[in-house]
Symmetry: C2
Subunit: 440 residues, 2 copies
Amino acid sequence: MTKPLRIAVAGLGTVGAGTLRLLDQNAVAIAARSGRGVSVSAVCARDKTRDRGVDLSSYRWFDDPVAMAREADADVVVELIGGAEGTALETVEAALSEGRSVVTANKALLAHHGTALARLAEDRGCTIAYEAAVAGGIPIIKGLREGLAGNRISRVYGILNGTCNYILTQMSAAGGGANAGPAQDFADVLADAQRLGYAEADPSFDVDGVDTAHKLAILTALAFGCEVDFDSVYVEGIRNVSALDVAYAEELGYCIKLLGVAQQVNGAVEQRVHPCMVRKGRPIASVDGVFNAVVADGDFVDTTMYEGRGAGAGPTASAVVADLIDLARGMAPPVFGIASTQLRQLPTLPMERHACAYYLRLLVLDKPGVIADVSAVLRDADISMESMLQRGRAEGEGEPVPVIIMTHETSEASMQAALARIAALDATLEPPQLIRIVDF
Amino acid sequence: MTKPLRIAVAGLGTVGAGTLRLLDQNAVAIAARSGRGVSVSAVCARDKTRDRGVDLSSYRWFDDPVAMAREADADVVVELIGGAEGTALETVEAALSEGRSVVTANKALLAHHGTALARLAEDRGCTIAYEAAVAGGIPIIKGLREGLAGNRISRVYGILNGTCNYILTQMSAAGGGANAGPAQDFADVLADAQRLGYAEADPSFDVDGVDTAHKLAILTALAFGCEVDFDSVYVEGIRNVSALDVAYAEELGYCIKLLGVAQQVNGAVEQRVHPCMVRKGRPIASVDGVFNAVVADGDFVDTTMYEGRGAGAGPTASAVVADLIDLARGMAPPVFGIASTQLRQLPTLPMERHACAYYLRLLVLDKPGVIADVSAVLRDADISMESMLQRGRAEGEGEPVPVIIMTHETSEASMQAALARIAALDATLEPPQLIRIVDF
């Protein structure tokens, strides 16, 4: 048997400690599957004294991850520090420059520097493995890079952030079903999620869609063989989704999910993250709580879906160790599925040219002529209404009342122009809400 | 660039022709992803003259696949002949003996000879790749063998046969929902499925559960690191599922799925294929029609699910080509995830010792004392009833009436003993129906 793959682990938070625990607990199986075992030679974190529930005494300790990446007696550096710049980036660059492969869970890093880092790795004859960076324990990177490698992928989309999916599920769980109370508002559910540890104290990366966009940018590069282009992702989070929207969605046969969607449209690439109305009964509509799911459509395989836990110590460690076993086996396919020099620069389809059906929620004064005014704006913008719903009259004339409009497919540009005109009507009391309806 | 991977394809049915079409249509992407391309050097089928919609003129033709496996100018032999014995087995043995890796979609072959063939491959320094043998285009072999390689897998189960899932879905689709007619019986739906090409003229491999059992035996070996043990699979098909069962399942909040389930129970392995009552709302319950799905539970990753088309030219060719790209990249992990010499012989948990809750459907004479007799039999066998349903009285006393019983968890041995006694009651008019209820 070859000698074990030696690794140095930078970052001993939840995922780092979980990875050490997994490597220890399943050492026999890992040795059998990798043919040689995986042995930790060095570790590095900010605080040496903190109790992480794992015995670090047999590993060389480094205070500086960059020094560790350069000097440790290791074949592979596992980067679990996080963040797109600074220490994480320096650590990964140092490791790759030394010809050491990197295993990372860092989606922000890859979203911002993926192409450059892939080129650096290839120059130095090593690789970057990042199964843990997208959708936690779900082996979707492997699925796209290898499992579906025979296909041209036309679209990949998914629920990529467990915090958002948990919040949306809770907002709706409170509102749906026979024994449920009214739908809950975003802020209340977020506060609960923070208390339960499902959301960070500063939740903006999650709820504003940035984390989903990081992951989507990685999936896009892998699926379409193009450079990672995070800056072209249209990003809209879930802060504006209200209890009312959740309740109306329920009533109309939809649920609301934050999706990341990448698709090829006539040779251009569309990447977008925003709340979506998904028809109930579609496989992705039933992916609830902290679970993630990714759907990939290939020209030969048709539609495939992958579901599992998108975060947490266990699932993420599972992904990190899968990458380590691959490396131990000598399996190192190109970082984004093809040689990084061959990654294409594809044109971006701007969001204005996106087309779909829309859900609109207006708050208007309940008085004669308001609906006629709104309808006229839509007609002038060539937007065709599929249905309109004005539920519950106001207390008296001239009081506020919500109006729900479902449109047929139209372009984002037309819709935004129409919304600006609707917002400017005297009877409109707050900025109109818009949620895009997906047909998959 | 290294020279292309040369392959010889044995068998040019739907999947073989689909594979050639995929290799041609996506040749550029495949070359980029494999780093060297995949080139067909020889093909073999029974009838050279048949029009398969693909141009075979540039490939060397063989009439005898075994000769081709020995003599073709090929690195890899793709076996798409099918069948557990005979030509397929001889072709694979010939290829491996020559040190040529094999890519196959043949589940029967691997279910019966998987361990021996894996050992032969390892002896000759080559491998067997079989993504296409289980669940069509879903990369579940790769998922288990590599993606979840850090985990100890406690259970793997799934909907592995599209024909059965299509039939069960149709039986229920007819019966479920607001606008639906009454549930349809097995025989009628099977006839429709045969007309539509979703079921074979001789459907027994599919509807009797044998095909599912073949695939399950492969998944079991891969998940648990044990020898392939097809003979230990308990197999029961869907012929006895009636329209009544489907309608009652619907009413009770379940759907009926043919599942293959493998789990480790105190160091023993349980492998079983039978119709299951699955609670609606569970992810696998919504996998309908010809779709397949596999669920794997790992100690770190928790539950993951994989869904897609389980058969057909496109999805199966997608899996074949994924294996070819892996081989072109030089990626050849052990056939069943660990060296074949290390595959364990694990004890089998016999079906008598399986424990679950049960659905029973009896047809009894509607007369006083019958229910008391049935209840007494169950009580004597220590089986606790969760509910009983006697829907619709008979026309008159002494007429046949169906009785539905849901039990709490009990052992298969107790249940079979009780059923034998119930079947022997004077008032029992036909053999009782039993469907196992799964708690996942």
